[in-house]
């Protein structure tokens, strides 16, 4: 009996070790970095033109009220926006350039961390204008700062300015897993929150979204002729969000979950004109793909089945 428990504990320790500190593929991480930082770069490049209005002295949230507006439970103690409002446009410009450099693989952990600080500064300086993509992107950026995300697919490597590729360290797989877990937490709780809503329960929530001309990119009035389809899509959304966090870890179910997620987010990007939100949510999917796919020497060996083999 004792022997059995001992072997179980040893196995658990081995599995734990493998999960948090096992080998991961740096190429996948680099691709994730490109998609995430590239998306944030595009999103904040657009915001650059309104940086004075949102974060400058003319912002509708006066600087002294920045933290005061948060309920006590959600209020941070030390504001990240250390710069004066008069410099907000320049700092925002630097932030946008940082994201471009990180997309190109120029920078490292410290630079990524600095970029995250700037991101948090702008996010909380004017929280009223925050998108979901800002909140999620911020979390991913912080985790990414703990990894060797610039080790591969870097412009510096291409220009041969960097030293040979470093060996994978302990922090990289650790934060790689954190990104995966964070995605699962986001899906789970956005699904649970929907269960509290009457329109999600009765299957008509998507109609409210389609009919809302402030949200829909196209005229979806015609969808009222297909209530069953709306109900099906509404319930599928909840089921997907609630079950993704569990089923994505099941080897056989993973391909279906990732494909469903791809369709779901492409749908959001197309119908609600939210391509950046979709890209930020889809970026971590890269980390769920089979690492064998990225270790192949040549793309000629590419096969669809390989894409989803367990990593």
């Amino acid at each position: 009996m004792i022997k059995f428990f001992k072997s179980q504990i040893l196995q658990l320790r081995k599995d734990w070790d493998q999960f948090w500190f096992g080998d991961i593929c740096l190429l996948q991480l680099a691709l994730f970095r490109i998609v995430l930082c590239g998306t944030l770069f595009v999103m904040y490049l657009s915001r650059q033109f309104d940086a004075a209005a949102y974060f400058g002295e003319a912002s509708f949230i006066p600087r002294e009220m920045t933290l005061e507006l948060f309920q006590e439970f959600y209020r941070m103690r030390i504001p990240w926006h250390f710069w004066p409002d008069s410099q907000a446009v320049w700092i925002h410009g630097f932030f946008v350039v940082s994201l471009l450099l990180l997309t190109l693989g120029i920078g490292g952990r410290a630079f990524m961390l600095l970029t995250w600080v700037l991101h948090m500064g702008f996010l909380y300086r004017n929280y009223a204008i925050a998108f979901g993509a800002d909140l999620i992107g911020g979390g991913f950026l912080l985790y990414l700062a703990g990894t060797q995300s610039c080790a591969r697919l870097s412009l510096l490597n291409w220009l041969k300015l960097k030293m040979p590729m470093p060996k994978q360290d302990l922090l990289t797989p650790f934060f790689y897993r954190m990104i995966q877990i964070q995605l699962c937490v986001i899906y789970a709780f956005t699904g649970f929150e929907k269960l509290k809503g009457g329109t999600w329960w009765d299957g008509t929530a998507l109609w409210t979204i389609f009919a809302n001309t402030q949200l829909s990119a196209w005229n979806f009035e015609w969808t009222r002729q297909f209530p069953a389809v709306i109900a099906l899509l509404t319930f599928s959304t909840i089921l997907f969000e609630i079950y993704f966090p569990v089923l994505v870890w099941v080897k056989r179910a993973r391909p279906f979950l990732l494909l469903a997620g791809l369709a779901f987010h492409l749908g959001i990007a197309f119908t609600l004109a939210l391509p950046t939100f979709s890209a930020v949510m889809l970026a971590p999917y890269i980390l769920f793909l089979s690492k064998e796919l990225f270790q192949q020497e040549s793309l000629s060996k590419f096969s669809f089945q390989n894409l989803f083999r367990r990593s």
Partner: protein
């Protein structure tokens, strides 16, 4: 020696993993009893790092059409003039977001739609933030009137009864709060470089 350093590092990271994952799960439902039981320093950590989030997108229910209609008065337009001016300007009317009932494809401008929702979560914010901001935006303004309007969309049953009836006929416009605000005289000086993003 090297092995033991690695072991302790892994041990430390493992403890941190348990701590952090528990925290992001508990705080995703922060207002629950588990969230409230957290010691303040833990909440401070989560707030500082941006992990005290509830991740409620389009939930618990998707929002209806939401906007602010404002009127900015100058001098004696509203009958309670606080300043004397030789020239009486006509009131200025506007909406936030500017693109009232159509989707804003410019992601930066679209943020103002989120700002309006942010105001609607706590109506005092309209008075604290939007009204003084409009006073600054329109130099010489003496009074601002803001109406927060909610266009309630018909539910699917109502909308599908008569599919040929335009949806606009079924929308119920509901002004649910009006804010009257006297601009402080100190705000009458124009601010430089006020962008038009806010409408």
């Amino acid at each position: 020696m090297k092995l033991s350093v690695k072991f302790f590092f892994k041990f430390f990271l493992s403890i941190f993993a348990i701590f952090h994952v528990t925290l992001i799960i508990v705080l995703a439902n922060g207002p629950s009893i588990l969230g409230r039981l957290n010691p303040p320093w833990l909440i401070d950590y989560a707030n500082q790092m941006g992990f005290n989030q509830t991740w409620n997108f389009f939930s618990p229910d998707p929002s209806h059409i939401n906007y602010i209609h404002y009127l900015v008065f100058f001098d004696s337009n509203v009958g309670n003039s606080t300043t004397i001016s030789a020239e009486v300007k006509e009131p200025v009317e506007g909406f936030i977001p500017e693109q009232l009932k159509t989707v804003e494809l410019d992601s930066s401008k679209r943020r103002m739609l989120h700002a309006v929702r942010y105001m609607s979560l706590d109506e005092s914010r309209t008075e604290k933030l939007m009204a003084p901001w409009l006073c600054k935006k329109f130099p010489g303004a003496t009074h601002v009137r803001l109406k927060h309007i909610l266009d309630i969309l018909p539910n699917l049953d109502q909308a599908s009864i008569d599919p040929d009836r335009p949806l606009e006929d079924l929308i119920q416009s509901k002004p649910y709060r009006t804010v009257e605000f006297d601009c402080p005289s100190s705000l009458e000086a124009p601010l430089t470089e006020i962008d038009e993003a806010g409408g």
